[in-house]
Symmetry: C2
Subunit: 451 residues, 2 copies
């Protein structure tokens, strides 16, 4: 075989980096479970007609075919490109076996054949949390599911994240109250504020949506409201538009911002940002995008919202609300920049040294005694001088080396353990000794400033 | 959308079943870590020329293509069909960043477009554990890696499994010592003992391999040796064949059987079974197949062995030894038969009841206090009479319901928690109360006899 080149868009982690990813996934999963969300995994393939809905993402779908298929066989399966489509299908397929409201989280890869760039990969892992009702889903679940993600991300050692909330009813009601007919097109134009200057967006509102210059001005005023509390309610009221749906949107958004602020510690920002629309058409209430400080170039690292028809089988409709965290989008850049790193590439806290190959059984017995008390360890692969064994441990970041010595005359064993960082070496009993809690497992090292 | 039918060969688990799978994966992963194995994940796609090596599995490979690709574009990526091919590529690609011997485990799905049947799926999860050296890998790692899997499976609440070991050097040396030239073809014929009667296999040895009837007889005698200890050494010696490679094989197999017996508790059988060959050509020493009692129809639920050239880049060769456990192959039938089931479909140990929607904040505060002490819980989705809330918990298997009552006059809260199984209801403090350890998380229920 020849030299291997990486596949663009398919990042792979080295063991110490993977330890970071595992810790992050374990942490968010544990938070979701504490809030009563059950984990599921879906198969990674879906019928193509379920995946391809005429959206932008369609052309990025990977289709699948057996290599031995007839040349003109129609491919009918594709890899899922998010976790929402398969989840909606799972709910429909298994509805008879689920209890509603159904609270689930899901951490799996998804695939998109798009042009790879930082934060955008062809295979990427997401962590989604959703609540789905049958026929109806009370609004308080919006507050709940968003708070859960705030709680989950607040526990991670990543740079500070900011949840920016808006509400589709608020936007829609405002536009309607203002007298704009084509609300969808107006949202689409306002969404361009990221890329175009305000006066250009105003011009497009007049041209494409048919607003008056005055209406366009008010749309822009709404879209520039951004506050870390519920003061947006008064600011919107001050714009003088009144509409029933607007009122409902204001109330919902205020409840979401308040509920999330209540659980957000220092590591999470919560804002009402009335420019957020999320392009996707199926959101019907709460919408959110999550950004990470110092990594605004990644655009959002997560997002979601309320969809009143996540799934439907014609008779029953399943409304849902949920939010997705881009695990790969967040971690791959942070690991590449050295902002996060794993403390060591191996789980072992102890290397049990080996004097001679004949004495392997003695070292293996020490390892077994440590493992019985949940201490990960490994026996040196070959006998070597002590200095060489210490260097072996050093290269792997294993903090402790254990030495077994048998007295040549009595055969009696003596045990010592060395902390190779401090050099301290002490007598130890394999049945009772334990490393400090902090050394038991690989941990995540953080660097304050990105390189 | 219309009614959803399952996709044949792509089994999906309900939440309580998935809880079982998660527990099993967490358990084997923890055992691997205790033995110093680091987790990695590889991307799920590989270049087709790396996957397709002319073997039986080739025609089952799923190839991948962007839906928007030109109609005549050559597909160059496929989904991996095991975890060994991607692991070998990972070692080559990242060798400069790895420490050897490299101890890794990997739990991921793989895909094969084969005809689905019980235990055989188109998407299935495997748990692999391997040790890979650079240039050389001492034999004692064979004993080590096999013992680790014995340890891991012995901790699972699945039916008793049996590790059946053999050694390629033993077979090869025996055939060579017997004067058989085409050892590979002889192994292939002996492998048919599963399907054909002995005299038919003997006839094929004479016909295809060119043995004498006497040689064929001895091959059969070797292949029928099966013992739960190292007594096979004498039985083989008694067949009167002598060869240096045979000696080495006998010694190695004895060491593996002895090492694994030392860690196997009641739940794992360890045998030398000299019929085991494993069809794959790259094994060069230890080979193993794992069977599960009562589920012999699944064939092996795991297997592996030593391969002296797991990977090579032309200059450096990486020998390895490892073993794979079929997570889906084992669990999907056990879950379907009800031999294993999850104790509940939700992580929540407590449902916090809700009197009126206005009092949601009080219930949420109780939930937060419980979560702060690592107790998973959820607040009732809507206010209801106590009986209805208890039935809600019952349907989800949530063992405890928490009631908050505010005194109408003083506003003072009183708390009670009810074990809905016993009906016992006691005063409780959300800051100190905890459920019994056994109720904290969903557990695995086992049924002795398969249905």
């Amino acid at each position: 075989m020849s030299k291997i080149s990486p596949l663009s868009g398919f990042p792979e982690l080295l063991p110490a980096q993977r330890a970071v990813e595992r810790e992050v996934i374990a942490s968010v999963s544990r938070t979701f479970e504490l809030h009563g969300f059950a984990n599921i995994e879906t198969r990674v393939v879906e019928p193509i007609e379920r995946l391809a809905k005429g959206g932008e993402v369609d052309k990025e779908i990977y289709v699948l075919q057996r290599i031995a298929a007839e040349p003109d066989a129609k491919a009918d399966l594709g890899l899922h490109f998010d976790l929402t489509v398969p989840f909606a299908r799972y709910v429909l397929e298994h509805a008879g076996h689920l209890q509603f409201p159904f609270r689930r989280f899901q951490v799996q890869p998804a695939w998109r054949g798009e042009r790879p760039q930082e934060g955008r990969y062809r295979q990427f892992t997401q962590a989604d949390v959703d609540i789905v009702g049958r026929d109806e889903l009370p609004f308080h679940h919006d507050v709940e599911v968003m708070s859960v993600m705030v709680d989950a991300l607040g526990r991670l050692p990543i740079p500070r994240v900011s949840f920016q909330f808006n509400n589709r009813k608020l936007i829609q009601g405002f536009y309607r109250g203002l007298g704009i007919d084509d609300v969808t097109e107006a949202i689409r134009v306002i969404d361009k504020l990221d890329k175009l200057p305000e006066d250009e967006v105003a011009r497009l509102l007049v041209e494409r949506v048919g607003t008056t210059p005055g209406q366009a001005q008010r749309c822009l005023e709404l879209a520039t409201i951004r506050v870390p509390d519920t003061s947006f309610v008064e600011q919107v009221r001050a714009l003088g538009v009144s509409d029933e749906l607007l009122d409902q949107g204001l109330e919902e958004l205020a409840a979401v911002v308040e509920g999330c602020r209540a659980v957000a510690g220092d590591r999470v920002g919560v804002e009402a940002n009335l420019r957020i629309a999320r392009g996707l058409d199926y959101y019907t209430g709460t919408v959110v995008e999550i950004f990470m400080e110092g990594y605004e170039r990644l655009k959002s690292v997560g997002g979601g919202g309320r969809y009143d028809a996540l799934a439907s089988d014609g008779r029953t409709t399943y409304p849902g609300v949920g939010v997705s965290f881009g695990v790969s989008r967040t971690l791959v850049p942070l690991l590449a920049d050295g902002v996060l790193s794993g403390s060591r590439p191996v789980p072992s806290a102890v290397l049990v040294a080996l004097n001679t190959e004949d004495e392997r059984a003695a070292s293996t017995a020490v390892a077994a005694a440590l493992r019985a008390r949940d201490i990960a360890c490994e026996v040196a692969p070959e006998p070597a001088k002590f200095g060489k064994q210490i260097r072996f441990a050093e290269r792997r970041g294993i903090p402790f080396v254990w030495f077994v010595q048998a007295d040549a005359e009595t055969g009696q064993q003596s045990h010592q353990v060395k902390d190779i960082r401090s050099g301290e070496q002490v007598d130890a009993d394999p049945a009772t000794w334990a490393p400090p809690e902090a050394d038991l497992r690989p941990t995540i090292n953080t660097e304050e400033t990105p390189k």
